[in-house]
């Protein structure tokens, strides 16, 4: 009896018992001190007991030379573009404070707000998982999958370069499964929310025993600590040294290639020495050179999973299409193309360079067929409209580049209007061409670039597709 009392006393003396909720919430995250779902007193007590590292949200770097401007760095989004820092008279501190406009959408971080980083015991993840998938790999997929796994075991970065429709997601399964069984924490990041929403149910189905969370803007709250996180790259701002492995899917998509701080966020979110794998159909020159220079693992799949070649785009002139549309008529060739698609009962996408042009043409197309709809990035019914096309409720969709990736509709035919526009880079055009012929039953299909003069990017896209076809069928 006496001994028991002593024991409890000893335990009390040690400090506090960590609540699992708090640990689950904070592990691997960088979080604003003011905006936690827990009470202020509780957080303060944890800080006193050294369970958190506290750092200011904006740090200052003084230049080596006197009289030079000091430099600010945001500790959440790693932004160091000085124009995006704003100095203001802070009424709380009664002095000049600074905030970062780059990540203000996630709540303002200023130099007088603190960030919390978990410093307590780390989480142990279960090692028993089930891989519920019995698909078959093609030879090339098998090889790529093994190469990816080898790179992970050697803790080496990896680039998986595979054409659109090569079955990239499936290739990831063995690698993810391996990591899960080692009790490691994995993140699959992608620049697009649509892709997160598509990947999440697929992974949930394949790994039924694993805690998986999806993070994107306005995502619902999810319980527990996820061993597998599927997130948009923006959400990685919130993580720090959290993952033993990060996979970036669609690593060539806007805004990831364009926004350096997103790339920094990926590197910040992983633990030191943990490998990163990039998955893309159109790697940029920078990525390829990095692969060579730093000795990354590299796998290349030039062939689709069904073994048919990629559809090659056809160039079709559509002179002065803009002027004709402004006059209120659809260019003849485009109208004929659309009519023949409707006659043959094939679903179609027509890509436009700008929302403005698309909205101008939409009523004209509705004269051909009243059910033709249009979608763009700000359209709240985007998902529903794509579903309608998939269910064959509507004959076709007009769209901006927002549907260039991640959408799979069987037997879809694609036209690009104004393919010479600046927004259609070669990688965008390759992605758009990749929408066609993804189904085994309909491996062919038409991809037409309607243009007002052939651009260098159009040629580059076509040559790349021809090259891939050549390499796949040697």
């Amino acid at each position: 009896m006496k001994r028991k009392v002593q024991l409890t006393k000893a335990r009390q003396y040690k400090g506090i018992i960590v609540e699992p909720e708090i640990r689950e919430f904070f592990i691997g995250k960088v979080w604003s001190r003011e905006n936690t779902p827990f009470s202020k007193e509780k957080i303060d007590r944890y800080i006193e007991n050294n369970y958190f590292k506290v750092k200011p949200a904006i740090s200052e770097k003084h230049s080596f030379f006197p009289f030079f401007n000091k430099k600010y760095i945001c500790n959440r989004c790693s932004n160091d573009i000085q124009q995006e820092f704003v100095e203001f008279e802070c009424a709380r501190c009664r002095k000049i404070c600074v905030y970062c406009r780059h990540c203000i959408n996630m709540g303002r971080m200023s130099s007088c707000t603190d960030l919390l980083v978990w410093n307590g015991p780390s989480e142990k993840f279960p090692k028993h998982h089930i891989l519920d998938w019995n698909g078959m790999f093609t030879e090339l997929q098998q090889k790529a999958s093994k190469e990816l796994l080898d790179s992970i075991i050697q803790q080496r970065n990896h680039l998986l370069h595979a054409v659109c429709g090569a079955g990239k997601t499936e290739i990831l399964f063995p690698a993810v499964f391996h990591c899960l069984q080692e009790g490691l924490r994995i993140c699959i990041a992608t620049p697009r929310t649509d892709v997160v929403l598509e990947l999440f149910p697929r992974f949930q189905k394949v790994f039924p025993n694993t805690v998986i969370h999806a993070y994107y803007g306005n995502a619902p709250k999810q319980k527990g600590t996820a061993q597998l996180v599927i997130a948009t790259t923006h959400q990685l701002y919130r993580f720090e040294e959290a993952f033993d492995m990060v996979i970036v899917d669609e690593a060539d998509a806007f805004p990831y290639t364009y926004d350096i701080s997103l790339q920094k966020a990926v590197w910040k979110s992983k633990k030191k020495g943990a490998p990163v794998a990039l998955v893309t159909a159109t790697p940029s020159v920078q990525i390829l050179s990095k692969v060579k220079k730093d000795g990354w693992g590299y796998s290349f799949i030039p062939k689709r999973y069904h073994g048919h070649s990629l559809p090659v785009p056809r160039f079709e002139s559509l002179w002065f299409y803009e002027r004709q549309i402004n006059k209120g008529r659809i260019p003849k060739k485009l109208a004929l193309w659309t009519k023949s698609r409707i006659e043959q009962g094939e679903p179609f996408f027509i890509f436009f360079p700008t929302i403005h042009l698309m909205q101008k043409t939409a009523p004209l197309f509705q004269q051909i067929h009243p059910d033709i709809l249009s979608v763009h990035a700000k359209d709240p019914e985007r998902k529903e409209k794509v579903m309608k096309l998939r269910n064959e409720e509507i004959p076709g969709l007009l769209t901006t580049t927002i549907l260039e990736r991640g959408v799979t509709i069987s037997n879809v035919q694609v036209a690009v209007v104004g393919a010479e526009s600046k927004i259609f880079t070669s990688s965008a055009l390759i992605q758009i061409s990749g929408r066609v012929g993804r189904n085994v039953n309909f491996p062919g299909g038409e991809i037409v670039f309607f243009h007002h003069g052939i651009s260098v990017e159009m040629d580059a896209a076509r040559n790349e597709i021809l090259r891939l076809n050549k390499e796949g069928f040697q």
């Binding site: 009424a91 709380r92 905030y99 959408n105």
Partner: protein, 206 residues
């Protein structure tokens, strides 16, 4: 390099390519900070003005978004957006300009006073005469609740308002409760006349 130089639209981040001309070179007091497209989305409130309360814009979707980003996401830089319009509307007013104050606790929470910042950016001198005594806000209340709120302001201790003409400034005018309360306090203190100026006029939708 000037840190505060604005190169992209503060609202949509599109690059601002303003052309240089003579007028801009010599009289450019307020360089543009938002693009033409964003500017067009704000709706001027030209009609239904009365003598007592002058408002500049309607509370449409674009304005709702602006106010949310400025007031609730605390993007202080957005106080620059309407500085030119505020300047031209207030520069010739002869009354004493008095912004509606915030409660000190609210001020600490928000870290800046949104009305003061608007005036500061527009380079309009102002005086604080009032103090707010409640921490509750008008937003999120029904019309009846707003109408029946007890007095929310009091005069600052050492100020003299007797015989003065006063122009109250606030960000948004909805039911007029805030302005009415402030006006009553000032009139009771002996002010000669009290008028009001707000950036936004909102119909009450709830």
């Amino acid at each position: 390099m000037n840190r505060n130089e604005v190169k992209n639209c503060l609202l949509c981040n599109a690059p601002l390519n303003s052309q240089m001309d003579w007028k801009r070179l010599f009289f450019n007091r307020f360089p543009k900070v938002i693009c033409q497209e964003c500017e067009n989305q704000f709706e001027w409130c030209l009609h239904e003005q009365d003598e007592e309360v002058v408002s500049l814009y309607y509370y449409n979707e674009a304005m709702q978004d602006y106010l949310h980003r400025y007031k609730f996401m605390h993007d202080v830089l957005l106080s620059k957006v309407f500085r030119e319009e505020i300047y031209y509307n207030l520069k010739n007013r002869k009354e004493m300009i008095v912004p509606i104050p915030m409660h000190p606790e609210k001020l600490k929470e928000r870290t800046f006073s949104h009305v003061d910042e608007l005036l500061k950016e527009a380079r309009i001198p102002y005086v604080h005469l009032l103090e707010k005594i409640t921490t509750e806000t008008q937003g999120g209340k029904t019309r009846e609740e707003r109408m029946n709120t007890p007095q929310i302001f009091k005069l600052k201790k050492t100020v003299q308002v007797e015989g003065k003409e006063i122009l109250l400034v606030d960000d948004i005018y909805t039911t007029g409760t805030t302005i009415r309360h402030a006006k009553r306090v000032l009139i009771e203190g002996g002010a000669k006349s009290v008028k009001a100026f707000t950036l936004i006029k909102s119909g009450f939708y709830k």
